[in-house]
């Protein structure tokens, strides 16, 4: 789960990670009011969406007067912001964050993620603040300092020194930076974060560090013990089909091909997409029905797959282990009653109770259903069916 910048900064503040003062607004009037409340003579109006690259897309503006705050807030609120992370369809901006201006002397990068190879958190720092870190990693990896922290000892002084000296900070700033990084490590561990990024981390004219931006993602498996973070969930930022699917225990990701897929198990679901591709077709989605599939969830799966108008055929590929094939077969029959399945459905059922399942499907005698003997045969038939050649 991801949160907005203003929410990440709320969390940072609790741990004494310095952030600029700011207030959230959902209307232009509120934005103006917030700017007045904050005082000063320079403000930043920032679109709040779950995507990076907001500045380049025109979602972040510096205002030098209250009139400009009003102007930018009215431009940004309600706009569809397109960045390299939103996809071409962009995202509707429903909230802006009004922040006090900050005296910027230098821009750095600071992040914390899980190092999967070392199996511990790694703090990453770079002098190349404001740039996309993936780009820095590709073009000049030597400019990223990585320090893994063994969680059984936690963040120690030496971790901080390695980062601070690696960044080439002058000695009067080393202590301040270590304090900042140490606090950020606590934010990561105590909230079960999956990722934290501060880009840029600003060094002010007076040599202080402040998080100008803030991005946080959380481990979904740990949300149960962080109700305050779960309450920050913004459903309007999530794909509605993916969310609907997850409510039924299905894992769904939309793709741009023509063959809808319904599979049990994430690995086999990906393998099915790959096989369709290998046979010359294109998958329309990833869909894992999980280990507890029943008639209702299968029907829901069909409904979600068929919402996508590009779908020309569906491939149901089940290898029954915990999931029993006869239940899936019944689910398919049920689904054809509940949902108008207007495209051909290729069904391959193998494993537990596959024989019973085959009988159920045969006895039902539904047109549109084509049975397949194995994975390769099923993918081939689905590709042909999508082309109208079967």
């Amino acid at each position: 789960m991801n949160v907005h910048e203003y929410q990440a900064k709320e969390i940072f503040s609790k741990y004494n990670v310095p952030v600029p003062r700011g207030l959230l607004a959902t209307t232009v009037e509120e934005a103006v009011e917030n700017a007045k409340k904050l005082g000063g003579n320079i403000w930043v109006v920032k679109a709040q969406i779950h995507a990076g690259g907001r500045g380049l897309g025109g979602g972040v503006k510096v205002a030098k007067s209250i009139e400009e705050v009003q102007k930018y807030a009215s431009e940004i609120l309600g706009m569809t912001l397109v960045t390299h992370q939103t996809g071409p369809e962009g995202k509707l901006v429903q909230k802006v964050y009004i922040e006090e201006g900050v005296d910027i002397a230098d821009e750095l990068y600071l992040g914390v993620v899980l190092d999967r190879a070392k199996e511990m958190p790694v703090i990453m720092a770079s002098t190349e603040g404001g740039m996309e870190i993936e780009k820095v990693a590709e073009e000049s990896p030597e400019k990223i300092i990585k320090v893994a922290v063994d969680p059984t000892i936690g963040f120690q002084g030496f971790h901080g020194r390695e980062l601070a000296f690696g960044l080439g900070l002058p000695k009067e700033q080393v202590g301040k930076f270590i304090k900042f990084a140490s606090a950020l490590y606590r934010v990561y561990m105590e909230n079960d974060a999956e990722l934290i990024e501060i880009n840029p981390l600003v060094k002010t004219g007076s040599g202080d560090f402040i998080a100008l931006d803030g991005k946080m993602g959380f481990d979904d498996s740990a949300l149960g013990r962080h109700p305050e973070i779960e309450a920050m969930r913004d459903l309007s930022e999530e794909d509605s089909d993916e969310r609907e699917a997850s409510e039924y225990g299905l894992s769904y990701v939309a793709l741009d091909g023509e063959i809808g897929c319904m599979v049990n198990g994430a690995g086999l679901a990906m393998g099915t997409m790959d096989t369709i591709n290998y046979m010359g077709g294109t998958p329309a989605n990833f869909l894992d029905v999980g280990g507890k599939a029943n008639a209702q969830t299968v029907a829901k799966g069909f409904e979600i797959i068929l919402k996508n108008k590009n779908v020309k055929a569906i491939f149901v590929n089940i290898f029954g282990g915990i999931v029993r094939c006869d239940r899936i077969a019944n689910g398919i029959l049920e689904a054809t009653k509940l949902v108008d399945v207007h495209v051909p459905v290729v069904v391959r059922l193998d494993g537990t109770n596959a024989k019973e399942a085959a009988e159920i499907l045969q006895n039902a005698g539904i047109k549109n259903i084509i049975t397949a003997s194995d994975l390769g045969d099923g993918a081939k038939k689905a590709v042909l069916a999508a082309k109208g050649e079967l």
Binding site: E119, A222, G351, L375, A379
Partner: protein, 290 residues
């Protein structure tokens, strides 16, 4: 022969009396697995599925001599259960539970290693030595005895791969589902040398997926240390970047962890890489008939 577990392995079940624990323990017993008891706090002294229930893993180990634990406890308690097993001297913990917090696994795995306990999973189907010992949730009838070892991040692809190998007239020595979480126990690099040493195993199937770099580590290891033929499939060639594909660890972040990168590394290491999982059985047959 086999790796890690066989017909004599004594197994306990943590989360024995729960719904999942009960169902799968029953299936394992029916397969022939030597389940000697289980652990459910506050139910010590009872009998379940004809086996004794203990309050603690220590009691269970003391009374039964079990060396392996199959763990079914809910995700919030899984780290505690793993560490309890390690503390009690269990040699191998097979963690079936899905949805364990990553931070918990960080600590649990470190503690397991410190105590010399191996772990498999979490979020995995378990381990099976064909027609001897099933510790997990896989459909036992798929696995016929033979000469192929199998290591897979995905549950259903484990069944798919094993089924194809058996349909080609071969069979399985041991199959290990290692799970698709960001932090897992035994992986390719630790399991490959076990299969290399196992005299019965003549070929190895490894099934990977997008995310992380375990398959890349495996490729480097194979190049230097593995003489038996390896057939590999990497799932997720058609997966979009930045999207989590079902498994918590199956995500291409930035440009790292793609299927293409892993397939190329494995090919360079002399592994027989197939583009579709539908080709696993045929490729194994081809390699073994050479």
């Amino acid at each position: 022969m086999s790796i890690l577990v066989n017909k004599d392995t004594k197994v306990i079940v943590q989360g024995f009396t729960g719904k999942e624990g009960t169902f799968h323990a029953e299936q394992c017993l029916a397969y022939g697995t030597k389940i000697v008891g289980g652990v459910t706090p506050n139910k010590g002294g009872q009998t379940h599925l004809g086996k004794p229930v203990f309050n603690t893993v220590k009691d269970a180990v003391l009374q039964t001599g079990a060396t392996v634990s199959m763990i079914f406890v809910p995700p919030a308690f899984v780290a505690d259960a793993i560490m309890e097993a390690a503390d009690a001297g269990i040699e191998l913990a097979v963690i079936i539970t899905e949805g364990a917090p990553v931070k918990d696994m960080m600590f649990a795995k470190m503690y397991a290693i410190k105590n010399g306990m191996k772990t498999i999973g979490p979020n995995c189907p378990g381990i099976i030595t064909a027609q001897e010992c099933k510790i997990g949730i896989m459909p036992g009838m798929v696995f016929k005895k033979g000469n192929v070892g199998l290591i897979s991040k995905s549950g259903t692809l484990t069944y798919e791969g094993a089924n194809q190998v058996c349909n080609e007239g071969f069979g399985i020595t041991t199959a290990v589902g290692i799970g698709g979480d960001p932090i897992i126990g035994l992986s390719y690099k630790q399991l490959l040398p076990m299969f290399e040493e196992d005299p019965e195993t003549e070929a190895i199937v490894m099934i990977g997926e997008i995310g992380g770099d375990l398959e890349i580590q495996a490729a480097e290891f194979i190049k230097k240390n593995i003489t038996k033929p390896v057939v590999a499939f990497i799932a997720g060639q058609t997966a979009p970047k930045g999207k989590r594909m079902g498994h918590a660890g199956a995500i291409v972040s930035g440009s790292a962890g793609t299927a293409k990168e892993k397939m190329e590394a494995l090919e360079k290491a002399g592994v027989h890489v197939v583009v579709s999982p539908a080709e696993i059985g045929k490729k194994v047959a081809e390699v073994l008939k050479k």
